[in-house]
Symmetry: C2
Subunit: 379 residues, 2 copies
């Protein structure tokens, strides 16, 4: 690849800082290995084989995905133990089977007895399946709500008894950790997550049903849990890049944001103390998660100490409205100059791009493009 | 193409109803032709050559785009008069030149004197350019704010005098029409838009500078303007599909929404009167524009009379949370069944997909896939 700097890239572009990425990956990998917990990173954030390979270094290569498109892509990249973490429906079983026949242990998730019956029926046709039962540990999204877990044993017995079906274990995602903003608050959610998923595993074992894998995890709970007892694997995702939301939650520090959107200044509007950039709703996403803790971050903040307090305060499809409580430094930001915008929610912002332009802040302040990683989008 | 019904499509998928699309296109085309105004549809919504060709039928083929990727794609599809409607920066001039050398009149927009100078300098190298000056008619986005329009004549004189540069005219977009919800309110914004852009054109002509094209338009103002006097072309965009936001604004009726997201029910949660679908933040987008007028539409509503009041009330990356004020009809929506979700904002939702599965509600209720249209995403 010819030498290229970010000054030569088209805008908007997605920039990934390899030095920060590597530190983020090592921090989580070390933390879980030291805790004796397997890491099954959720690659819905990165959707990139290159990032996925770096993420599982020193672990056994198991991963999580959120779409069948990701499952096919990572299978093509050599990943062999893949959990498709969104509730399965019968119409998707042929796609699961297709990958399993290629030697990929593509596992799936349900919390529904009718689906479990459909899986059991499909397995009888000669193909095997590996299934997790999902538990709701308090997030109020998918899963049988703990502690009642209505129908848990019916589903578990059916799957355990079905020829060709492996009941792999139980899984949960404490997504409500995203609404905490102190280490203590997150640790409390992590303990709630742990108690629920270990409680589900114990309920199965008490009924004589094996439960080999006990899977939990979000980035905040993986970072701040005080106790992993009974959990066998964790599935954090956004930690690979981090973002403003994770910074304000307290999952990472301000220097741990690996992803930014490179944008051009396209107009000056001093009469309203704003400027426009060519990164709007599509380039940044309309995700405003981080506003829960810091309303003034808008749709993303401009990176760099000199840009303190400057944010994308509004956006339309291809226009980002940049403002500040202080007068904007127009002289430093002429039309045609470039800024890097830190995203609210990395998973959603990254989905608008088909590639990462990789820089390395430890080398030359992150000016030279040292690599390009691809991404898989869609379904 | 083999016969396929929407029951065989993967989920989530993007469904386009050709019958509704055709009616939407004809309504706008007839309205503007009857008013003696040229139609330059903004294809940032559809991003599809097939839809673009249908949109310009009976007009002269001029279009608007929002990215250089769209410009290249539509140029490849034979479109010859393309306005790139986002403020140009000098670094993008080589891409403009590349397409112009291929015989495409790719025109651009600025409101900045330094940019105008850079364009003039680049034109002196032998390549020609066609430039619009952008006016802010009240939306508070891009453009010289009317009536002051500071620097208008300086920019216009410079472009008019520059060898190889055509000052094509003036353009504006009354985006603030999106915050109206009555025909009278929209008509008032349309008149504000008209007065501003015609005022800008007259200011140029009074200074002896030709202003051939006077370009305005948003879907609401194009639909409800009472007077187009002095406007030569309109640039509506989202009217091709419409969406919940346009319905509540009053740009269209409830039967005019051509786009929907096909999703599968993946879980039942009667303890909180919710179910989950496999269309979340990426499949629907996090755009909540339509909540300005109807907060309960959430991130999209379930199509069909039987689903009245059922909406996606929350979403995470791949999960849509479906709820209602009334008890959900779980018996009609078993896990594995499919729903069609009407989007808040069609332009943003569609951007997650690389194709439209085209159905025709006038043929068989929209069950059979009669065509597949592609889309251009990214930049």
């Amino acid at each position: 690849m010819s030498i290229q700097t970010i000054d030569e890239l088209p805008t908007p572009s997605l920039i990934l800082d390899r030095a920060i990425l590597s530190r983020n990956l090592k921090r989580m990998s070390d933390r879980l290995r030291n805790a004796g917990v397997m890491l099954r990173p959720h690659l819905k954030t990165a959707k990139s084989i290159q990032v996925g390979r770096m993420a599982v270094e020193g672990h056994d290569g198991r991963i999580t995905v959120s779409t069948l498109a990701e499952a096919r892509y990572f299978a093509g990249g050599g990943f062999k133990d893949i959990l498709y973490g969104v509730g399965i429906v019968p119409a998707k079983l042929p796609a699961i089977t297709e990958l399993r026949r290629r030697g990929v242990n593509l596992r799936m998730v349900t919390d529904n007895l009718a689906v479990a019956k459909a899986v059991a029926a499909a397995a009888r046709d000669g193909d095997t399946f590996s299934v997790f039962i999902e538990i709701d540990s308090g997030a109020g999204r998918a899963g049988l709500p703990f502690p009642e877990m209505p129908g848990l044993l019916d589903i578990a017995r059916l799957l355990h008894a079905a020829p060709g079906v492996e009941l792999a274990g139980v899984m949960t995602h404490a997504g409500h950790s995203y609404h905490q903003s102190t280490p203590e608050g997150i640790a409390a959610v992590a303990e709630q997550e742990r108690r629920a998923i270990v409680g589900a595993a114990e309920a199965l074992r008490a009924a004589g049903i094996p439960c080999p894998i006990v899977s939990a995890g979000s980035t905040p709970t993986a970072m701040h849990s005080a106790d992993f007892t009974g959990i066998t694997e964790m599935r954090p995702g956004v930690y690979v890049f981090n973002d403003l939301d994770q910074e304000f939650i307290g999952s990472c520090g301000a220097g741990d944001l690996a992803l930014s959107v490179l944008a051009s200044v396209i107009g000056h509007y001093p009469h309203r103390n704003q400027l426009l950039v060519d990164a709007g709703a599509l380039a940044l996403s309309k995700d405003i998660s981080a506003q829960e803790f810091q309303p003034k971050v808008g749709f993303g903040t401009i990176a760099g100490a000199a840009a303190n307090g400057i944010a994308v305060v509004d956006c339309s499809q291809e226009h980002g409205f940049v403002g500040s409580d202080k007068p904007l430094p127009y002289g430093d930001l002429p039309v045609g100059s470039r800024v890097r915008i830190l995203p609210n929610h990395a998973c959603i912002t990254a989905a608008a791009y088909d590639r990462y332009y990789v820089v390395d802040g430890d080398l030359d302040g992150g000016r030279t493009v040292v690599d390009v990683y691809d991404r898989i989008n869609g379904w």
